[in-house]
């Protein structure tokens, strides 16, 4: 497992043919800094419980980009998010997040963890949850009448409007639908105007219309608020048309590049070290055939990393 060397594409500082074909990112390894980098991993590795999850991962996310993290179960997608947050140190290589070591720029990152739904008995209002995203980490009690408090109230109202959740933000969150809860959680992640948004499977457990709606909401936020988005997805199809780039994790390594470069028969076969076929359905959807585990099929997700 640990021996598997990664195939890097796109941003790898190598003379690989893949990076030469990628016109927009021909400049690598510090040559041009026109767009500030939000996330940069250089030959990074992650270990959880003595097991190497991935290694030799090199990737970069620029400001304002919409990037998907794809891969089969257990490939380390959530691990990548945790490493970006600094909750898990990289065991080899380097990682830089918003120009600092991971964990030092936490207040500039919005984070939406995986599989977080509130059961019907949860007696918390959505608006309070969003408010916690704004100043929940602060000690002491906010006194009424302080300018900071009015500022917080104003920002919370603004962000609720942005995600379209103002109509139900004052109801207990346990009574809301999955799509409504997800919008509130995105509002919570956005409330501090982060420069980077880490969304771990935000489309999980949503029905198809809600998947489409939340995906287009994330895209709109990415463009209008100029936030870089790193979105972990199980199924690329709801977000395919919105993506700037894709990071595909499998076989202990990663490939990064434009969606059509990465989700291809050739690249994925190389990454998995096994024959993989990518089929293009007539409606534009992609189907990946031949993986050890099929991540593009709904309803088989349990036992994540």
């Amino acid at each position: 497992m640990t021996e598997t060397s990664a195939i890097t594409a796109g941003h790898a500082p190598s003379d690989d043919a893949a990076s030469a074909t990628d016109g927009t990112r021909a400049a690598t390894a510090g040559a041009s800094e026109a767009r500030p980098e939000c996330v940069r991993f250089e030959r990074a590795a992650a270990r959880v419980g003595g097991r190497t999850i991935w290694s030799e991962v090199t990737l970069a996310v620029d400001a304002g980009e919409f990037v998907a993290v794809l891969g089969p179960n257990g490939a380390g997608k959530s691990t990548l998010i945790k490493a970006t947050l600094g909750l898990l140190p990289v065991s080899a290589g380097t990682a830089t997040v918003l120009g600092k070591p991971p964990g030092e720029a936490r207040s500039r990152i919005g984070y939406l963890p995986q599989r977080r739904n509130f059961d019907a008995g949860t007696r918390i209002r959505g608006i309070d949850l969003v408010r916690l995203g704004f100043d929940g980490a602060r000690w002491g009690i906010p006194l009424p009448g302080l300018p900071r408090r009015a500022q917080a109230t104003e920002r919370v109202g603004e962000v609720l409007e942005l995600v379209g959740a103002a109509g139900y933000a004052r109801r207990p969150i346990g009574e809301l639908s999955g799509g409504e809860q997800q919008r509130l959680l995105i509002a919570q992640a956005l409330v501090r105007r982060p420069e980077l948004l880490l969304l771990d499977e935000p489309l999980d457990s949503l029905d198809l219309p809600n998947q489409a709606a939340v995906a287009s909401l994330v895209r709109r936020i990415c463009r209008e608020e100029r936030v870089a988005v790193l979105l972990v997805a199980h199924d690329i199809n709801p977000i395919l048309s919105y993506l700037d780039r894709v990071i595909y994790l499998a076989g202990g390594g990663a490939v990064e590049g434009r969606p059509e470069e990465v989700i291809s028969t050739e690249t994925l076969s190389r990454l998995y070290g096994a024959p993989i076929e990518v089929l293009h359905a007539s409606d534009g959807r992609l189907v990946v055939v031949g993986q050890p585990e099929a991540p593009f099929v709904h309803g088989d997700r349990h036992a994540h990393d």
Binding site: Y111, P113, A120, I124, L129, G136, R138, I141, Q188
Partner: protein, 298 residues
């Protein structure tokens, strides 16, 4: 007969009755102690119910019993036993919940600890002959023997716990409802969990001295659970929890003073009755959307 037992000395003139209530120093002490304990238990209990740590709280209150029994056996003040055992219990519970991931494993471990605490309490009581009269008050509380010194201790403990909770209120709320995001934002989630159990232990130890080990819940859980049913606004919820705890304590003490029945019975029954009323109104409200109290499916 019953009326005579219930309302001994009650003149039905409110001013006279309040004056009579405050005539004896022991009653003044009881009211002061009850007030302090109610405020502290109302606030701590609200967070405990929010964090779904009712079982841990119950175990701490059971641990208070061997603590008090051991103190009497050793000839120490009861407070020493209450605080040391509840503090140790809180540390143990924090260790259990820190090391275990699954809720079922955690609750089983807490349950085992609770059984051990009861057994130890029974052992200490057996070793200490002639405590029979005291056993009742250890388990069910008394308001007759509260000294001014005890009131002062309670005040110090309550001020400490309330101040700690006030400082940590927002991060604790964040960590309780949304631990993953709180951790990602740099909130010390584990430290807060550990600290909260210690604060809970302090509150239980102080409350036990008034309500007894078994009736701590009347003040710690029931008012908080009722408040959570009525509102999901955090500030209003804490205020309501305190208000309910204060009301049942004052009414309970008054009723106990003018009757032969114990104070724990009154406080518990009043709190429970209010909880039932709120649940029923909530259940009706779920059918009639005009009533805004909502109830979860049981």
């Amino acid at each position: 007969m019953i009326e005579a037992a219930l309302f001994q000395g009650l003149s039905w003139n409110p001013i006279d009755d309040v004056r009579q209530l405050l005539l004896f120093p022991f009653m003044v002490n009881a009211l002061e102690a009850g007030t302090i304990v109610a405020v502290m238990a109302g606030i701590t209990g609200w967070f405990m119910v929010l964090r779904r740590q009712t079982f841990a709280g119950h175990t701490l209150s059971v641990i208070a019993f061997p603590g008090a029994a051991a103190a009497s056996l050793a000839g120490l003040p009861l407070a020493v036993g209450y605080f040391s055992f509840c503090g140790l219990g809180a540390l143990t519970l924090a260790g259990i919940s820190g090391s275990r991931r699954s809720y079922s494993g955690e609750s089983a471990a807490i349950g085992s600890l609770q059984a051990l605490a009861l057994a130890l309490g029974f052992l200490f009581v057996s070793l200490y002959h002639g405590i029979l009269n005291g056993l009742n008050s250890l388990l069910f509380g008394t308001f007759l023997g509260i000294t001014t010194g005890q009131v002062t201790t309670l005040l110090v403990v309550a001020a400490t716990t309330v101040a700690l909770l006030a400082v940590a209120a927002r991060p604790l709320f964040f960590a309780s409802v949304d631990a993953d995001v709180a951790r990602a934002r740099g909130v010390p989630v584990r430290l807060l969990g550990f600290g909260f159990l210690l604060v809970l232990g302090l509150s239980v130890a102080a409350t036990s001295q008034i309500t007894g080990a078994l009736l701590v819940f009347a003040l710690l859980v029931t008012p908080a659970a009722t408040a959570h049913r009525i509102t999901c606004r955090p500030f209003l919820g804490v205020a309501l929890s305190v208000a309910i705890a204060l009301a049942v304590t004052w009414i309970g003490l008054t009723l106990a003073y003018f009757s032969v029945y114990p104070v724990g019975f009154y406080v518990t029954s009043l709190a429970f009755a209010l909880y039932i009323v709120v649940r029923i109104v909530g259940a009706l409200g779920a059918r009639h959307p005009l009533v805004h109290v909502r109830v979860e499916p049981a």
